[in-house]
């Protein structure tokens, strides 16, 4: 490669991610990265401001609109936070139904990302639709798994995007035992398909990489975390209460992004999402998911971001098994919801969106009016970690030409299934070399 001066790589708008963003990278003559920025230019949407003055019961419907790909995550974190503020715990079959709805979202979102957004990177296609010309059966399998996830969301939540059936305290209407039982055969078929997907993605070529960030994931007792839990687990071994989230995680604004950056108190970056969940909780996977993970060559921990596609495939298997378990044990609760009378106070809620931990905090007045809202979405938390990964990749692969290097950076970002609408609530690559 000839000696070069300034080198700039720029991706105009990052594809196969949800929302709008760009990437800007600058290398100096020595090949050192001077700058690696994710520029989130998704227009700010001001949800936290809109929530002030609304009723506490409105938060699940309003915050769902932050994200069309993971609306259930927003609804569930909002419900948990409101119930926490009001001193009510929703347990039993209502909590199980919430987990069932959330399984639908995991199945749908993971199947979409694995087959249509992420796999084309490994097989060299511009899109899942282009990939379908030579890998039609794989894409069709992905679409069928995704359809099952959407159907489960519609069954429990009314519709797949922005479900209508969720309310603080539970649901508007709960399904009958037979309505759920009728859906089990579709899930059993999806389980077979999801196991095939794990084998398929395990055969891809994975660039060497190691995420050295801290890992954070919800702790949900002896269960793999999805719909809430007792607090947050970290790879450093310490855990903290959900209510203490803002004492451990600090957000600050950076000029190049409409999404806020998050870091831990010591200034370290951290990662949430599949790698964090798997590395902290792989011992809690169900039988088929655990066996599939082993067969795919995963150890108890997985820190290679490129292999996150395997973890997502394994988590899809898990979500389907969980859905089947919940349906099998389901007994309709006497009432679709428990009463959550408002009281003045502060509540916190944290759940695992498919792309990572989602924290909500609300202050409400005695009559239930929201006085302050705080939403910390997964992609905003992962943004600093993604930028750090870009720096490492750029320095390790600086011999590559601009096109290849740009391609690799774009892949590195996509490994994290960023959800930009959420975080600005992502991606154009601008690479400058000097």
């Amino acid at each position: 490669m000839t000696h070069r001066h300034e080198r700039t790589l720029r991706v105009g708008s990052l594809a196969r991610v949800e929302g709008e963003g760009a990437m800007h990278v600058r290398l100096d003559a020595g090949g050192r990265v001077r700058e690696a920025r994710l520029e989130i230019y998704e227009p700010p949407r001001f949800f936290e401001a809109f929530l002030a003055g609304r009723a506490y019961t409105e938060a699940p419907d309003i915050t769902a609109r932050v994200c069309g790909i993971c609306p259930v995550a927003y609804q569930m974190s909002a419900c948990l936070a409101m119930e926490d503020a009001c001193g009510v715990t929703v347990g039993g079959q209502l909590a199980e139904l919430r987990r069932l709805l959330y399984c639908g979202e995991w199945i749908e979102s993971h199947a979409l990302h694995v087959h249509l957004l992420h796999a084309p990177d490994f097989l060299g296609y511009a899109s899942g639709i282009d990939m379908a010309r030579e890998h039609r059966a794989d894409v069709e399998r992905g679409l069928e798994i995704k359809k099952t996830g959407n159907a489960l969301m519609a069954l429990v939540g009314g519709r797949a995007i922005h479900p209508v059936n969720v309310r603080v305290g539970g649901f508007h209407r709960v399904p009958s035992r037979s309505e759920l039982a009728r859906f089990a055969p579709e899930l059993r078929r999806a389980l077979e398909l999801a196991l095939e997907t794990v084998i398929w993605v395990a055969g891809f070529d994975f660039p060497a990489a190691e995420a050295k960030h801290r890992l954070l994931a919800v702790a949900q007792g002896d269960r793999y975390p999805i719909d809430g839990g007792q607090g947050i687990a970290t790879d450093a071994g310490y855990g903290f209460r959900t209510a203490d989230f803002e004492d451990y995680v600090f957000e600050h604004q950076v000029p190049h992004s409409t999404a806020l950056h998050a870091e831990l108190a010591d200034g370290s970056t951290y990662l949430t999402g599949p790698l964090a969940r798997y590395s902290l909780h792989s011992a809690k996977l169900t039988r088929h998911a655990a066996a599939a993970a082993r067969a795919a060559g995963l150890d108890a921990e997985c820190r290679n971001p490129f292999r996150s596609i395997i973890v997502r495939a394994v988590e899809t298997v898990y979500a389907i098994e969980e859905a089947l378990r919940i349906i099998d044990a389901y007994e309709p609760p006497e009432r679709p919801w428990v009463a959550v009378p408002p009281r003045a106070g502060r509540g916190h809620g944290v759940t695992e969106a498919p792309r990572g931990l989602l924290y909500h905090r609300y202050d409400i007045a005695a009559d239930g009016t929201i006085t302050q809202a705080r939403i910390v979405p997964p992609t905003a938390q992962n943004q600093a970690a993604i930028e750090a990964e870009l720096c490492e990749l750029l320095e390790a692969h600086q011999g590559l030409g601009d096109a290849e290097l740009t391609d690799l950076c774009e892949r590195a970002i996509r490994n994290h299934d960023p959800c930009i609408s959420c975080s600005a609530h992502f991606l154009e690559l601008h690479l400058e070399r000097s």
Partner: protein
């Protein structure tokens, strides 16, 4: 160039849910891709071909000076422009800013509001450029999206009923939650398309498809009052995902101003 009609999908301020609806057409997606050339669809493909496009689907509302310019270019590049969802047809949830002080909102969310460039109002696409068809919903309905695309391919008008959610309740055989349970419901004034899901789940319609044609909102406001709803709550139910649509905006304002309600 493939000779197939060229499809482009564009996003403005939104949650991505309406364009995701296209990817949610699991049974039809690959057939659609055989029929149309996907020239630009950032959420689905790295391929981005320049216009002109035959069919453009536009999601999201206009909230920044840059986007107000970008929509002009999209319009110039597109033969047939269809806008998708509450954001694109009525400003969306972002339009709640239209009723407040956007500087104050920026200061609420951002420590350095000066880094943020945004417009005072969130506006519908039709406020900026001529639009060929508007598909309602927050989110849009998958079946309706397929009908619009099919109609485009067949060269006919989309068959999208312009009536209220009440018709869909009756067609579905759902018991009226307002009459039977006294549950406040926006169904009579809300555009059909969802299939009356909320009443089917025993909750009142909350208007996510926006106003039906010629909605009798004064009558509904009176009914909501009779059902014991507080005025500020009635105003809020019209101020959600279609807050800036003229009919819902007027309904919310009429609650603040009872004289006006009598006059209308």
């Amino acid at each position: 160039m493939t000779g197939k009609p060229r499809l482009a999908v564009f996003k403005f301020a939104s949650c991505d849910g309406c364009q995701l609806t296209l990817l949610d057409c699991e049974d039809e997606l690959l057939a659609l891709a055989d029929t149309l050339e996907i020239a630009h669809f950032t959420e689905a493909t790295r391929t981005s071909l320049p216009g002109p496009y035959d069919l453009a689907l536009v999601e999201g509302s206009i909230t920044t000076p840059e986007d107000a310019e970008r929509i002009e270019r999209v319009r110039a590049d597109s033969r047939f422009l269809v806008v998708l969802g509450a954001c694109a047809t009525a400003g969306g949830i972002q339009a709640l800013r239209n009723f407040g002080d956007v500087r104050g909102f920026t200061e609420t969310v951002y420590a350095r509001p000066d880094y943020i460039s945004t417009l005072e109002h969130s506006t519908a696409i039709a406020d900026h450029v001529p639009v060929d068809f508007e598909l309602r919903g927050c989110p849009i309905d998958r079946g309706q999206l397929l009908e619009v695309i099919t109609a485009y391919l067949a060269g006919r008008k989309p068959r999208i009923p312009d009536r209220s959610v009440c018709y869909e309740c009756k067609a579905r055989g759902v018991v009226c939650v307002s009459v039977a349970d006294g549950t406040p419901c926006l169904g009579p004034v809300t555009h059909a398309g969802c299939g009356a899901i909320c009443p089917a789940f025993r909750r009142g319609c909350f208007g996510c498809f926006g106003p039906a044609r010629e909605p009798n909102t004064p009558a509904l406001v009176r009914l909501l009052r009779e059902q014991g709803e507080a005025p500020e709550h009635i105003a809020r139910v019209f101020r959600t995902f279609n807050a800036a649509s003229p009919a819902f905006r007027a309904a919310a304002e009429s609650v603040d101003d009872p004289d006006r309600e009598v006059r209308s």
